[in-house]
Symmetry: C2
Subunit: 352 residues, 2 copies
């Protein structure tokens, strides 16, 4: 009997289709000797699709997407200067809508140093941490509003919503992951001295879950201090757990210090498996270099590895990671001369 | 006729008193040949004072502070492990209360590279930018709340409040400052693709004020992307204008990449002069090294220079800055062997 893995693929805009093509190439190679059949269904969504059809993400498409085992996602977003598309529309009505609708409460973003990858830091040390970013609450809930818009009396609010349910499940996930790692350490990042109510919920929750994991140590950093450590001593981190907005900020910074956002993979995980999880590079659609075969597909390929791990093929995931590591080690000799698809070819060829 | 400059001095907790002693030493030296009389009144406030008296910041003290020309502030905050003090109480009821009560709407935080100061970045380039952080609104307003605390149904909210009045005055300040700088460039940092209502108010305001300053260019970065540039190309920035929370995060990061938070000065400015402005190092009270003469007083001394500039003594401010620059250039030979007061002595001696 052959298992079927039924994937939805959303290439998206800009460099999305280019990097996803390479991720699919590598996915196929990594699973060819596994006892699985890979079925891929492509969905056209994103800024271009909205311009052509007016759909951001319809209920019908959402229902179809739900039937897949997982989603591989490229990037969405119009060019910054494109005035035909209301700013942030695609990001909110499509990307964030997916994360919320599918209850992707764990936004998992690993950072690690690869030999040979230059860091902007003079001495980054050995970086090997994961950020467990909450994905369904916080300032991302869209509960803002505005009054007297465009007048001198305008007032605009944004509400961060945090629930015991939402915080507990993601903190628990962070401790569970930390317990399986050699250093077994969780760092909560927040700003509880200012954001008192949300901050206290996060802190109390960490204390409560920590009591269930006596083998895992934990500490706390304010978000401002965490950005300092991210540049002076990123090797100190093991598992970071934090809210949606602080996680957004910290993972871009983490990507930068560990060798560039071109390597940063992520998983939007529904750990209860009540809906498919979604895997995407942390980088955006980079319209300035789109269609030129200049994008680095590595983050998309590493996201595909996370996908395989999530659907129960950890050995295939490890093979992709090993191929990526070998390819990265060989990169100095190419010094940016390879096309997106040549990088994908090289990594696919390296998958044992 | 001799002018009097009447200063309130709040040394605070931890290393606050040590660094403020040096800042006062340098202030006195820098003004001795000016036609001014410096009058200093010390206020004991902070965690220690609260433990002794129960006062965070009374209406009476606030009224007294209002009568001064400016405030020199050290640092406040209890040791992280000190359970006698509710977390964040002093920060909110005293430091933030001062910023809000005195309408310190421009939180000005300059960053610059000094020759000889090591940066964690391999190649920081020439850093010379200022962050104009909004100081009286945003997520700092304390408009949060919580329901069903301690139960599985807890919900905690934090409300970011942004007004046309509050945003316009700080954006205008940023453009005014940019117009006086060689590069004449303003970068708005926000997250308008997610925080739509606040984000649009900020963007529209920047567009409107930009039209009044045709000689100043402007661009926009999401906060996550801004942290990347802060590590890969901090030299790109000239004037950054941003909200209270993003500014908090970005200025700690900026301090780190430009050679350490030990050099980062700040001014909490009421540009309408309806209340005294307040000058403080960006660093905290660092209870772990307090009382040991280990703290670097440079950030406090540079904050004192900002104070002199604000009260109308720019020449004295420049003399302090020059002395600091000369001292920093000579530092490699001391390699951390000088006490706090030796650094203050050296800088004071260098003030021409
Ligand atoms: C595109 C944007 C809405 C998104 C976010 O803020 O989460 C992105 O920055 C990310 O980190 O995945
Ligand atoms: C102590 C704290 C409340 C304060 C802030 O968040 O503004 C500090 O981090 C700062 O940057 O001055």
């Amino acid at each position: 009997m052959t298992n079927t893995i039924d994937l939805a693929v959303i290439p998206g805009d800009g460099i999305g289709p280019e990097v996803i093509a390479e991720a699919v190439k590598v996915l196929k190679k990594a699973t060819q000797n596994e006892d699985v059949r890979l079925v891929l269904s492509e969905y056209r969504l994103g800024a271009e699709h909205w311009l052509a059809t007016g759909e951001t993400l319809s209920d019908g498409t959402l229902a179809e997407l739900r039937r897949h085992d997982a989603i591989l996602f490229g990037a969405v977003g119009a060019a910054p200067g494109d005035t035909r598309i209301p700013s942030g529309l695609i990001e909110r009505e499509m990307l964030l809508k997916l994360r919320f609708a599918m209850d992707h409460y764990v936004n998992l973003r690993p950072s690690k140093s690869y030999a040979g990858v230059p860091s902007p830091l003079a001495d980054p040390g050995t970086i090997d941490f994961i950020v467990v970013r909450e994905g369904t609450e916080g300032p991302y809930v869209g509960n803002g509003g505005a009054l007297r818009v465009g007048t001198p009396h305008e007032i605009a609010t944004e509400v961060s919503v945090n629930t015991a349910h939402g915080v507990e499940r993601v903190v628990r996930d962070a401790f569970r992951r930390a317990a399986d790692r050699p250093r077994r350490k969780v760092t909560l990042v927040h700003k509880h001295n200012v954001l008192v109510h949300a901050g206290h919920l996060w802190r109390r929750t960490v204390e409560a879950i920590a009591a269930e994991y006596p083998q895992v140590s934990h500490d706390y950093l304010h978000i401002d201090a965490a950005t300092i450590f991210m540049t002076t001593d990123p090797a100190r981190f093991d598992v970071i757990v934090t809210d949606n907005l602080f996680g957004d900020i910290l993972t871009d910074l983490a990507g930068a210090v560990s060798g560039g956002i071109g390597l940063a993979a992520s998983g939007n995980l529904n750990m209860d498996r009540t809906a498919p999880s979604m895997f995407e590079p942390v980088h955006g659609s980079a319209p300035d270099i789109a269609g030129q075969q200049k994008a680095d597909p590595t983050a998309a390929i590493l996201s595909a590895a996370m996908l395989l791990e999530h659907v129960g093929l950890p050995a295939a995931a490890r093979r992709i990671e090993a191929a990526v590591e070998a390819d990265i080690a060989a990169r100095p000799q190419f010094s940016g001369t390879r096309t997106t698809s040549q990088v994908g070819d090289a990594i696919a060829a390296g998958v044992s």
